[in-house]
């Protein structure tokens, strides 16, 4: 696998080439959202300039083209996920909507008192709160997997919970947004399935950092967002196994998702449109497909290897720093491009402000993982997250800026 030609790739991302607070921008907040290459921006603009119309209804040329672009993008996502059935791909606003859809629709239909949903302490709030809502509505119970000191899931504990025979669905993240931990999804899927339960995978981070093959992973549902993998905001996809999706009631009602509408009741359009009420985010779908083309050109496996090399280098630089506390697996091969840390008694917001003043953008806060923060007894961490366009020089800039934090908070 050839290493990434990062200098050439950086040329594709206009937003990277600017000064922030008098210094060249070092963008290390990629786990929050990625920057966008010109290929994606051009695809969205071309769509609006040449093909813009509503989909699936106009009997005119532009509507035909818009529909073709929209459904073509769906095929592109299906290919990305390794499925040959595009009807299993539901467009959403992003990962959050995908998980809410399954929780409300599948959960509302299949859960009841005594049933259990298996989550973990490292889940993002978007993979917790939807389950809390449906548990309250159906009387189901939430069970939680602990996270180890090093930031991994305890699979023995999973077996113990599964052996109770009450778990109907496990909803777990592919890659932790706060720690970078890559969870062993295949192994988890086998155990979950052996217990007769389903597995939903939160792919918000997972889809951005490497190849995804939902069949190989053993997922029953996989939700991801476009904006974390070079695509536009406001577009994402939920993949689900056809027989599961076909048995689920619609999530929202409206145009586009119906077949025949009567005064009291209607019939639904077939998959995938059952779950796509209203005029969809057509340009977003086009942009997401362009982003997937872009990533494919770069090589998803090479992206993960590049991130892991940067994490290894960053950990090497940070470990000796006095006062540093690092979170997540020690082995860079067990994580994606995320480094969460604390430094002395400097609060993460102070760290972030000081870094920002030298043009280094990181995230500071609870990362929408308050359960995980509580697990480690902290209110917040600072998080640097890398992507395909980040360099070792940028890691050096991060480290140098952290020396400024140490000086101020000496």
């Amino acid at each position: 696998m050839a290493p990434l030609d990062v200098d050439r790739l950086r040329g594709d991302f206009p937003a990277l080439h600017q000064d922030v607070n008098g210094h060249p921008l070092v963008y290390l907040d990629n786990a929050a959202t990625s920057q966008k290459p010109v290929q994606v921006l051009d695809a969205v603009r071309r769509y609006y300039e040449a093909d813009n119309a509503n989909v699936h209804r106009g009997i005119h040329e532009l509507s035909r083209r818009a529909t073709e672009a929209y459904e073509g993008a769906r095929n592109r996502v299906a290919g990305f996920l390794g499925t040959d059935d595009p009807a299993e791909v539901i467009w959403t606003r992003g990962t959050t909507e995908g998980i809410n859809l399954v929780a409300a629709s599948w959960g509302g239909e299949n859960l009841g008192p005594g049933d259990e949903i298996l989550l973990s302490e490292m889940e993002h709030h978007s993979n917790l709160v939807p389950w809390q809502l449906v548990a309250r509505r159906t009387g189901a119970t939430l069970r939680y997997l602990d996270v180890s000191d090093e930031g991994t899931l305890n699979l023995d504990q999973m077996d113990e919970i599964l052996s109770g025979g009450r778990v109907r669905l496990a909803a777990l993240t592919h890659i932790s947004n706060a720690l970078g931990t890559i969870n062993p999804i295949r192994e988890i899927a086998d155990r979950v399935h052996a217990a007769g339960a389903l597995l939903l995978v939160d792919g918000a981070q997972g889809a951005a950092h490497g190849p995804v093959d939902v069949a190989a992973l053993g997922a029953d549902f996989y939700a991801f967002s476009g904006h974390k993998l070079c695509g536009p905001t406001g577009i994402g996809a939920l993949w689900g196994r056809r027989e599961l999706l076909e048995a689920m009631p619609p999530y929202m009602g409206g145009g586009e998702m119906i077949s025949i509408v009567e005064r009291d009741m209607s019939t639904w359009a077939p998959l995938p449109h059952t779950f796509e009420a209203g005029t969809p985010n057509i340009s977003g779908a086009v942009g997401l497909a362009a982003a997937l083309d872009y990533l494919e050109g770069v090589g998803p496996a090479a992206i993960l290897a590049h991130e892991q090399a940067l994490v290894a280098y960053a950990l090497e630089q940070l470990r000796p720093m006095p006062g540093i506390r690092l979170f997540g697996p020690e082995d860079p091969g067990a994580r994606a491009g995320v480094v969460s840390f604390l430094l002395g008694d400097a609060h993460p917001h102070d760290i972030s402000t000081i870094l920002d003043s030298s043009g280094v953008a990181i995230r500071a806060g609870h990362h929408c993982t308050q359960l995980l923060m509580r697990r480690y007894g902290v209110a917040a961490t600072a998080r640097a997250s890398f992507y395909l366009y980040n360099t070792r020089d940028e890691v050096d800039r991060l480290v140098t800026s952290l020396e400024t934090v140490r000086t101020i908070f000496a």
């Binding site: 609060h347 500071a364 209110a379 917040a380 908070f409």
Partner: protein, 150 residues
């Protein structure tokens, strides 16, 4: 934020001193008012307890969790308003808010005492809410003690 604002304007020694050695930190068993405010965007929080006697802040304590700016500001505020009538304390809060909106007169107003060290925060707009959290708690406490719904 404007280009290249020196960080020294933000992280003055006095601020770090209040952050590390907060004044009036703790709990007040005989408090007459207690409020808990939180900045949902960053999670900073402050619990403020007042002992009001005839409209005067006879004693007060705070506890909190958050960045140096939010915690130092709360500490400075408690030192400033202890022993003052509540309306005077609220007026100082308004003056401090003006300073956070880059009012140059407010920044040199001696009545704000240690809080003047926070004048530099006005040049870091995303941190202004942190600095105001302590006085947010005071305003909430004033509303509660006046018997209004929070």
């Amino acid at each position: 934020m404007t280009t290249d604002v020196p960080l020294t304007s933000l992280y003055q020694d006095l601020i770090l001193d209040h952050y590390r050695k907060p004044r009036n930190r703790g709990t007040l068993p005989d408090a007459t008012v207690e409020v808990h405010v939180r900045n949902p965007t960053c999670g900073d929080e402050i619990r403020l307890q007042l002992l009001l006697e005839d409209g005067v802040i006879a004693d007060l304590r705070f506890e909190g969790e958050g960045c140096s700016i939010s915690q130092a500001s709360a500490s400075m505020m408690t030192s400033l308003i202890r022993g003052k009538p509540l309306p005077d304390a609220l007026a100082l809060g308004s003056r401090f808010t003006e300073m956070m909106h880059a009012d140059a007169d407010a920044a040199t107003d001696g009545s704000l005492r240690d809080l003047r060290a926070l004048a530099g925060v006005a040049r870091f707009p995303v941190r202004v809410r942190c600095a105001l959290l302590g006085f947010d708690a005071l305003r909430e406490a004033a509303r509660q003690s006046a018997g209004e719904a929070p």
